[in-house]
Amino acid sequence: SAVISQKPSRDICQRGTSLTIQCQVDSQVTMMFWYRQQPGQSLTLIATANQGSEATYESGFVIDKFPISRPNLTFSTLTVSNLSPEDSSIYLCSVKRGAPDNEQFFGPGTRLTVL
């Protein structure tokens, strides 16, 4: 398995500000993902964080709103910019090691509340 930590675990932010979430994995992984889980909803994939290149965003998510960095194989950050109350969610980091192991592991999540 992979042990994933996220910082912060929770935060309360004001409208218009930004929050950067860090994801650290205890071993090198090939793929890292960021998901959002809005209150009472399922998980929605925001983007795939690519090491050394721009992230790949899913439909409905853009780089200006959710800039992502992945400087190496064990670390990634997600920034949620220009916050509004609709951004209140749990943000989860997820990783996969790659073939032949196709299991995906999830971090504990960061609970964001925007006032």
Partner: protein
Amino acid sequence: AQSVSQHNHHVILSEAASLELGCNYSYGGTVNLFWYVQYPGQHLQLLLKYFSGDPLVKGIKGFEAEFIKSKFSFNLRKPSVQWSDTAEYFCAVNAPPGSSASKIIFGSGTRLSIRP
């Protein structure tokens, strides 16, 4: 692109009842299938997974799921539920490594409530 459907949004059962949660997926190629559970206030945990081989897979806590390729289904079952099974259950699918679809996509989730 792949997608996952969970038709039961909220299931309410009494303890010792049998459980079956439906999951259907759409994807034309080889898939890997998962069931995750999220207990109240906790983070996501893997219940079981199907990669290949025996289509009947057994997971933790007495759960099992059956992959029926012809029906594009991967239903979750448990013969006798307990109050502690109260949680949100998510079905998920992804394609094997190397595929452009190799990222987990989740269903909308099924909330399971068990009456003591």
